[in-house]
Symmetry: C2
Subunit: 488 residues, 2 copies
């Protein structure tokens, strides 16, 4: 016979052990279900396909004299997937339609900014949902703050080119932190608007920051903030990483400041775009691209620092909207050989190199042979081309092609305007030859339709493996943050 | 007061519940650790990069009039990763060095067949380890059975071109099932060997099968078997999928038979190579490539059928040794447009199309203009080129280029030998134009250095996510099968 006290004690211990086990089991079986993700970083490398990552990793290894890859930080993420990219009405997408998918979980037509294909219905974005639920929201980019990829998170417009209307949407979003290049048309397309977007943002309560000092002094206590890069390049964007001056604010600076501004118990959603990876794909400029990729990964470093502080509540996703340029780490001329380290000799982006062409066009000596020889010296200095020590001497055919282009398009007729800035045929050919000597080829100057990589770390990261549709990404993020509504 | 019987009953129930929970927890916490993987399929799409998969999926969707992708079976696998490909001594690898990494877990130099860089030490392969531990082993390919990718699993030779020695290694391997094209030099390079490899295989106990009927009748009771394709194309390989005749044995047939031959309590390791995806990348022939990819996925279907029968003990990995061709789903000429469905009009592979060129070269009418017009009709019939209804009319520049090539390389001088079969400049250009009209570009005729995809399903599949080195793949498989030794 056992007394009641003894029985109760055993019963109590039994219940306690059962409860503990049930708790563990519950946690186990709910793996994959919504979790307490408070801090979300969505990095979008615009135009970043698998080859952009591999080429950068090969470049970093080659700098150290190694064969193989020196992995970027996000290549070490534990979960990897692929995302489709196609738009509702085109296999090869654009940044607006692809961004809309990544921001709203819905496919739409080319050029729409988070609206339906017919451009009549706005689609609520993951950033708006997060904001409604009390999360802080940050939108960061290396291009103009009203460009398609940032815009799809806060704006709803029929066309990505409606930059002024997109700017108005930005101001009305009430999001907590914006950082990017600038507004493309702060006074309207024809300087025809009664308000200036920067002025209006300040009137609506945004701390507008456009100096390095004000940026350093910006603190969470300043409330909603809009950071516009003190120095910009073409398209109101941050200078290309390869053209960065000491003291320039970088995507990594913007990301670190965003973490400072948004941190807190509310949690946050931050989208950070490496926007000019795409531009360099359009320009087929591999040397500038690998530097831009490194700058992008340096921004990811800032998020990783934060992740290591709050690993239980943080999710970092690094992905892309589409690949740009049809990049190959290999070239028909070099066959199985590569000399990726040659890319280190290029000192300036295609944008700056084009200015050299413009200079030669305006300052002709009257002796075009002599001008061509001066240009060759410029190519050697700025691009590393035609240098015996580097192994980049031009062969007869390359020399003839370049000379022909120099005489016709630099000494003779003018330039053609491309999608992003001016495309100088002479410099484009010089860069193509240098890329070829490095063993790198490009298939197109536009986007391509291949799947892009998805890298994920943190709580819920395992949800991003497999091949997923680009529309799945905000849906999964929304589930993990607990901000989904029936609208998704 | 409670009686002893009641107490014991409660204690018993408590222990039982605890035991059940501990069992569940133990299973849970051991997820990711070695499991009982008895059946392993390693599919290697030689030359299959991300773009090869995406282009095929876009083609399948386009056939149905859809924008986007129709996913291949392995795109639906739950776990996806990437694998590096570089060799010990070159960034852009070759099939021998890449295969050695996939078979042995060790990097080596270009052209080595599972030997160290200095070609002095053989590296034991995952297939050999599995065989030693009592698993059955099958090696299946669509190219010659002694080609680099199959060879690295059973042979150890300094150079991939030592086909006779590789054939001897095959016979001595004692592996249970081989299926492929044929031996490249069954009597030696100069017909100088005293033994014939096929005869020797039979003498050493292999059931040698080289008719469709014998193949159908082949049963596990026949013991070790060597299946050589009854019909072969160039390089002792299976005909390209696009050139397949009714009744031809396919990679899927070889895989299904392999499952039949190897199934049993011992478990098995089977490597199945889609070897001609690579060849079509070298030839830059997109229309034949998408068909070859489909044939490859049909072989994966057979493994999936098996997986659905034995999901607890089966692991399927689909990966690649390297990308070939620098394929872009996008072309500078078509910009953001694609017409991938045009690929359906091509009826024959580049290998067969080259024979048309050879026919014209030999059967000249004496009126080369008339011959060119006949060739244009052949291009329309076999390639779908220059057809108004298809929208593939040649423009003036394309017509001029083709005519020039026809007059010089078909009516005039001879052909140049390429790596794989003969490269006909005229037909290469015609295919290039057709690929361009479809919106597909190629960056090179060789391999490229980008990471390749890894798709995995089954027990342990979650181990293949993230970016892994190609040498990790056999190491993880070996752990999961429990066949690792200190040598790995």
């Amino acid at each position: 016979m056992i007394n009641r006290k003894y029985f109760l004690r055993i019963l109590w211990i039994t219940i306690w052990i059962l409860a503990a086990h049930i708790n563990i089991l519950a946690n186990t079986y709910y793996e994959g279900e919504p979790k307490n993700v408070k801090y979300v970083f969505l990095f979008i490398g615009d135009g970043m396909g698998h080859a952009q990552v591999s080429t950068t990793e090969a470049y970093l290894a080659a700098l150290k004299g190694n064969t193989g890859f020196e992995p970027l930080n996000f290549s070490g993420f534990p979960h990897i997937g692929q995302s489709t990219t196609y738009a509702n009405n085109r296999l090869i997408t654009g940044s607006a339609a692809a961004g809309t998918a990544l921001a709203t979980g819905k496919k739409t037509n080319i050029n729409r900014i988070s609206m339906d294909p017919a451009a009549t219905v706005p689609y609520e974005t993951i950033a708006e949902k997060a904001k409604k639920q009390g999360f802080k929201v940050g939108i960061v980019t290396s291009v103009s703050i009203d460009h398609a990829t940032p815009a799809v998170f806060y704006a709803h417009q029929p066309d990505r080119d409606m930059y002024f209307e997109i700017g108005i949407d930005l101001i009305n979003s009430g999001f907590d932190y914006f950082a990017g290049g600038g507004f493309l048309i702060p006074d309207g397309m024809w300087n025809d608007q009664e308000v200036n977007l920067t002025t209006l943002a300040a009137e609506k309560g945004y701390a507008v920051v456009n100096s390095a000092e004000a940026f350093r002094n910006l603190k969470p206590g300043n409330g909603k903030s809009l950071v516009l890069s003190p120095r910009t390049a073409g398209g109101a964007s941050l200078p290309y990483a390869i053209d960065t001056h000491p003291g320039d604010l970088t995507l990594a600076d913007f990301t670190a400041k965003g973490i400072e501004m948004l941190s807190g118990d509310e949690g946050f959603f931050m989208m950070i775009e490496g926007g000019k990876i795409d531009w360099l794909g359009h320009a087929n400029d591999a040397a500038s691209l690998v530097r831009e990729m490194i700058a992008f990964s340096e921004a990811v470093d800032k998020a990783l620092d934060f992740y290591h502080e709050y690993p239980e509540n943080t999710l970092i996703i690094v992905t892309s909207d589409h690949e740009t340029g049809g990049l190959s780490l290999g070239h028909v001329a070099t066959k199985y050989e590569t000399n990726v380290e040659l890319l280190k000799y290029q000192r300036s982006s295609v944008e700056e190199l084009n200015k050299i062409v413009a200079h030669f066009r305006v300052n002709q000596s009257g002796d075009s042979e002599e001008d061509f020889n001066r240009m060759l010296r410029a190519l050697e200095f700025d691009l590393g081309l035609h240098n015996r020590k580097y192994g980049t001497l031009l062969d007869d055919e390359e020399m003839a092609v370049l000379k022909e282009l120099f005489m016709t398009t630099v000494m003779g007729i003018g330039t053609e305007k491309g999608s992003y800035g001016y495309s100088e045929p002479f410099m484009a050919k010089a860069i193509e030859i240098m890329n070829k000597k490095a063993g790198i080829a490009w298939g197109t100057g536009s986007h391509t339709g291949v799947n892009v990589p998805v890298y994920a770390i943190g709580t819920g990261a395992e949800r991003f493996t497999g091949v997923i549709d680009n529309t799945d990404i905000p849906k999964i993020i929304g589930e993990l943050m607990g901000v989904l509504s029936s609208e998704f």
